[in-house]
């Protein structure tokens, strides 16, 4: 009997054939459609007879208007039905555990180690109340303190708050600290402008506005760097601060960043470094070296904690010593023996988030950093950047794709590509290519708005994907791009292998049709 080369059968012309992916399509009803009167998913503990006897009819003590008349029309399901419903819906979701998740550029979709999730699920953390006596929470305070020391070394800054609930909350905290700083100097009325860049996350502009600032946005110069001349023209005695990312979402490192900081300092403003894109520069360059006053890290990005469909997360906010007095309270202090919570900061901006932020995320991030150490973190940056430049080389072999700006320059951890040429030649848009890619089990994200780079596509491979996986991703995108030229209709009518087909968009922007809840949908469509 002749031997078969089983693996080779999965190749064509020496290259692996594309997966015959098909996303789960359970046609899973909306949970209310599964309801049958009387079914129960869980029982609640019985009330002890003596409690009942002593307490009496507690509902009768409620004033008339405060006792609920009709029970909430929640669905009624048995427990196995609930489990199957959610298990099916989970299969209709493409998490980073499943796909080569390099297409959500700026999001740093790296591997979230399972051991860290397990460590954070420890009852010794789950069952802690945030107002417990300090003596009973020495363990979690120690983790928070130790992790702060790690962030101080990674950034070169002096104090951190782990309270903000994600990157945008940290940006807001930083703006609030900037405001408090100018207030303390009696200049808050005069300094009413914040400068940011168009390739920084929209929350930089939005948080500044929310905090009451006028926003000035710098656009890129011809090389893709934020325009230095525009910055010089923008700064004045009205400048409160600069919020800037580096490398920006283009993946281009701005070598003049120290000059940007100097110019803003010269005008009396503070500089805050949005380190959402820190993954490629860990151990390479820091906020301190460029003289930033504040920074923040997204622990759910650079520090590997899982994204959870959009949180819970932590935006760790760091400042120079001079600004520590403005940080949210409490801070964790250590006297060499005991850890304690310090609420006694006279100039604190107060609370940015509840209690101590999301300590479980801190535990995961701490475990991740401790599993790598200084060399490991440097390896993370090195491989993330190698992967990115490798991916860039392979992607640019695809006809119709290009990268704007900084010709011939290396990129750091991500790249914003442009399908402008392909769109001109085929009429197929970047979003459509991304949706078609989902037919093969991967996806990509275009860009924040506005699309400064036309027909954008932002890829960030991180350190977590193998060369073969990067090759597979490129093969899928190449295939889809080829289809755009040979059979554009199949791309434009995508998805074909997804959970659902093309969704009607119009209802989402029409108040008479939009429905954010099932009850609204039934009312508007079903005539309930």
């Amino acid at each position: 009997m002749g031997q078969r080369d089983i693996t080779k059968e999965r190749y064509s012309d020496g290259k692996p054939v594309l997966r015959r992916f098909h996303q789960a399509r359970w046609d899973e009803p909306i949970i209310f459609e599964l309801s049958r009167a009387g079914q129960r998913g869980i029982l609640v503990p019985e009330v002890d007879e003596e409690i009942r006897a002593r307490a009496g009819d507690v509902l009768a003590t409620l004033p008339d208007g405060m006792r609920r008349k009709d029970p909430p029309a929640l669905p009624e399901l048995s427990q196995p039905q609930v489990v199957r419903h959610y298990a099916r819906l989970s299969q209709e979701n493409l998490g980073a555990d499943l796909n080569v998740d390099i297409g959500q550029g700026t999001c740093t979709m790296k591997y979230s180690p399972k051991i860290n999730d397990q460590l954070a699920a420890n009852p010794k953390l789950l069952d802690l109340h945030p107002f417990q006596d300090e003596e009973t929470v020495q363990g979690i305070l120690e983790v928070m303190y130790r992790f702060e020391q790690i962030l101080k070394e990674i950034s070169g800054l002096d104090r951190f708050s782990l309270q903000p609930g994600a990157g945008s909350a940290a940006i807001y905290a930083n703006v609030s600290i900037i405001r408090a700083y100018h207030e303390a100097r009696g200049e808050s009325k005069q300094r009413d402008e914040i400068i940011t860049t168009i390739f920084s996350h929209p929350s930089n502009a939005a948080c500044a506005k929310t905090a009451g600032y006028r926003v000035i946005t710098l656009y890129p110069d011809d090389d893709g760097y934020p325009d230095l001349d525009a910055l010089k023209a923008a700064v004045s005695e009205r400048t409160a601060g600069l919020l800037i990312t580096n490398p920006e979402d283009t993946g281009i490192y701005n070598p003049k960043i120290a000059e940007f900081v100097d110019i803003v300092h010269g005008a009396g403003g503070l500089c805050s470094y949005d380190q959402a894109n820190a993954n490629g520069v860990l151990g390479i360059t820091r906020a301190r070296e460029a003289d930033f006053d504040l920074c923040h890290f997204n622990l759910h990005k650079t520090f590997s904690t899982p994204h959870g469909c959009g949180g819970p997360a932590v935006g760790a906010t760091g400042v120079k010593e001079e600004l520590a007095r403005f940080l949210p309270v409490p801070l964790v202090e250590y006297d060499g023996d005991r850890y304690r919570l310090d609420y006694d900061l006279a100039d604190s901006i107060g609370k940015v988030g509840s209690f101590h932020g999301v300590p479980a995320v801190v535990v995961k991030a701490y475990a991740w950093a401790m599993s790598l150490g200084a060399d490991g973190l440097r390896e993370v940056a090195g491989i993330a950047v190698l992967n990115n430049n490798y991916l860039l080389k392979k992607m640019l072999e695809i006809p119709g794709l290009s990268i704007p700006y900084a010709k011939g320059k290396r990129r750091i951890e991500q790249v914003r590509y442009s399908w402008e040429k392909l769109a001109e030649e085929t009429g197929v848009h970047s979003e459509e290519l991304g949706i078609r890619a989902a037919d093969f089990g991967v996806h990509y994200w275009t860009s924040h708005h506005p699309f400064v780079v036309p027909e954008p596509c932002t890829l960030e491979p991180t350190e977590s994907y193998s060369k073969d996986e990067l090759d597979e991703y490129v093969a899928i995108i190449a295939h889809v791009a080829r289809e755009a030229y040979t059979d554009p209709e199949i791309v434009k009518s995508a998805p074909h292998n997804s959970t659902v087909h093309t969704i009607e968009h119009e209802p989402f922007d029409d108040p008479s049709q939009w429905a954010v809840t099932w009850r609204a949908f039934r009312r508007k469509v079903g005539g309930d």
Partner: protein
């Protein structure tokens, strides 16, 4: 470096030297260093970061982290009566089962075609909350109840075009601190007191402070101090007469038995969903919700994402997407409403699981059971010489103020003694509410048995004797 050496970093596939070299060759680079050539020397970190030695094996890491966490003493090992915004409720196993699934845990921001499951679960979460709250619009969760309170107030200022906002004094210090910081540019916050005897909002003071510039009255019900407001409808009428909105901050687990605020006239309802299936985890299980009627002027003022349902091109199939996306900062940066970003979506999915498990009957039973236990605890505590429980003569839900003035003891002293006996006493209110004397906020839920409550009572009786 030996080529045979296995990679040091199991999380970093291409750290294998051979692979690294091959990739470098393909991109025409000598070393990884070349990729950093645009970073000026003056900005480069000289030398190596000074970090602790790594724990390379999973076993060593586990031992290290578990060793530190072992120093905590938990509410599972002790008897806990702390609440004040983070509450100890039973977490159904199915909640953890679902939120630990990698498909949900490791997803982020895919399109509706990639992450149909995320959109549907969050739509269903909002839909079930909508039933609980009797409102048609509920947002995708934001960070926590603090943010929900602050954003609700900001929404009210935009909807009404007014700056003045009234906030009931029966509010936690942390929430008030957040509101003061966050709303400063858009709202002038003024406090309204409550009646010393009943804890009910002082309606006379409310009327005096309301003006034609008042955007909203913000009221907790149940309040931070556990009291149930009796005059919800009257308060709504008073506010509405002046053109102000009523914002009610509500504990969602109370709504199986308590009237949803919309029914007594609330225009915006907000709160924290932590009670619905999230472990306390040192305060890390919080997530905020905001709900309103389905009116365009309200919907357009949400900063958060709103997931809507719509047909697809195949009959009978539903799809999902962002409702009124153009109002968000994702779409229009600083021209959007406040901002939107990563927050606490996984807890929304989890709360949906919780409500699906509980159903209407479960929510009614748990609400009544909590009220009965809390009332039992108050009655028993009140029998202790020098202890007054509750301090306010009004119905309570799960929290209530216990006053120790008659014992001559401070809450700190009492709590220290309780802790020595394995009991976490209620939150000390001495600093937040100096006028309440030696008072603490106690929380009783369905996790407390009669024996638990009796144990607290006996420990206190002994301590203050």
């Amino acid at each position: 470096m030996s080529e045979q050496r296995p990679p040091d970093y199991p999380y970093i596939p291409n750290s294998v030297p051979k692979v690294k070299e091959q990739m470098l060759r393909e991109v025409g680079a000598e070393s990884v260093e070349e990729f950093f050539e645009d970073i000026p020397d003056s900005l480069r970190l000289k030398g190596k970061m000074n970090l602790p030695e790594p724990l390379l094996s999973e076993q060593a890491l586990k031992r290290h982290v578990e060793g530190i966490l072992a120093r905590n003493a938990t509410a599972r090992e002790n008897l806990n009566f702390l609440g004040a915004g983070c509450w100890q409720h039973h977490v159904p196993a199915v909640c953890d089962e679902v939120n630990r699934r990698g498909e949900f845990l490791t997803a982020y921001a895919g399109e509706p075609y990639d992450d149909h499951g995320r959109f549907q679960t969050l739509f269903e979460y909002a839909s079930m909350m909508g039933e609980l709250l009797n409102m048609d619009v509920v947002n995708v969760p934001i960070y926590d109840g603090l943010q929900a309170a602050a954003t609700s107030l900001c929404m009210a200022t935009r909807i009404t075009g007014r700056r003045h906002a009234l906030v009931s004094k029966a509010i936690g210090a942390e929430k008030l601190s957040k509101i003061r910081d966050y709303c400063r540019p858009s709202a002038d916050i003024e406090l309204v007191g409550f009646e010393a005897e009943t804890g009910q909002l002082d309606l006379g003071e409310l009327k005096g402070r309301l003006s034609s510039d008042t955007a909203a009255l913000f009221l907790g019900n149940p309040s931070y101090l556990g009291t149930i407001e009796q005059a919800g409808g009257e308060i709504a009428d008073i506010a509405h007469e002046k053109g102000a909105l009523l914002i009610v901050d509500v504990d969602p687990i109370s709504l199986g038995v308590l009237t949803p605020p919309a029914d007594y006239g609330a225009d915006i309802v907000c709160g924290d969903i932590q009670p619905l299936g999230m472990h306390m985890q040192f305060g890390g299980g919080q997530a905020g919700f905001i709900a309103t009627r389905d009116e365009e002027e309200f919907v357009m003022e949400y900063p958060s994402r709103l997931f809507g349902i719509a047909p697809t091109r195949v009959e009978g199939e539903y799809g999902f997407g962002d409702v009124a996306y153009e109002r968000t900062s994702f779409a229009v940066r600083e021209e959007g409403r406040e901002w939107v970003g990563t927050a606490a979506a996984l807890w929304g999915i989890t709360a949906g699981v919780y409500l699906a498990l509980m159903g209407p009957q479960g929510m009614a039973e748990i609400g009544e059971g909590i009220m009965a236990r809390a009332r039992y605890a108050m009655l028993k505590l009140d029998t202790i010489e020098g202890v007054k429980a509750p301090l306010f003569s009004t119905p309570h839900f799960k929290e209530f103020v216990v006053n120790f003035d008659g014992t001559g003891r401070s809450v700190a002293e009492i709590n220290r003694a309780l802790l020595a006996g394995g009991i976490f006493g209620g939150k000390d209110l001495t600093q937040e509410y100096p006028k309440l004397g030696s008072s603490a906020l106690y929380c009783v839920t369905e996790v407390h048995s009669r024996q638990d409550i009796d144990r607290l009572v006996e420990a206190l009786r002994e301590e203050v004797a």
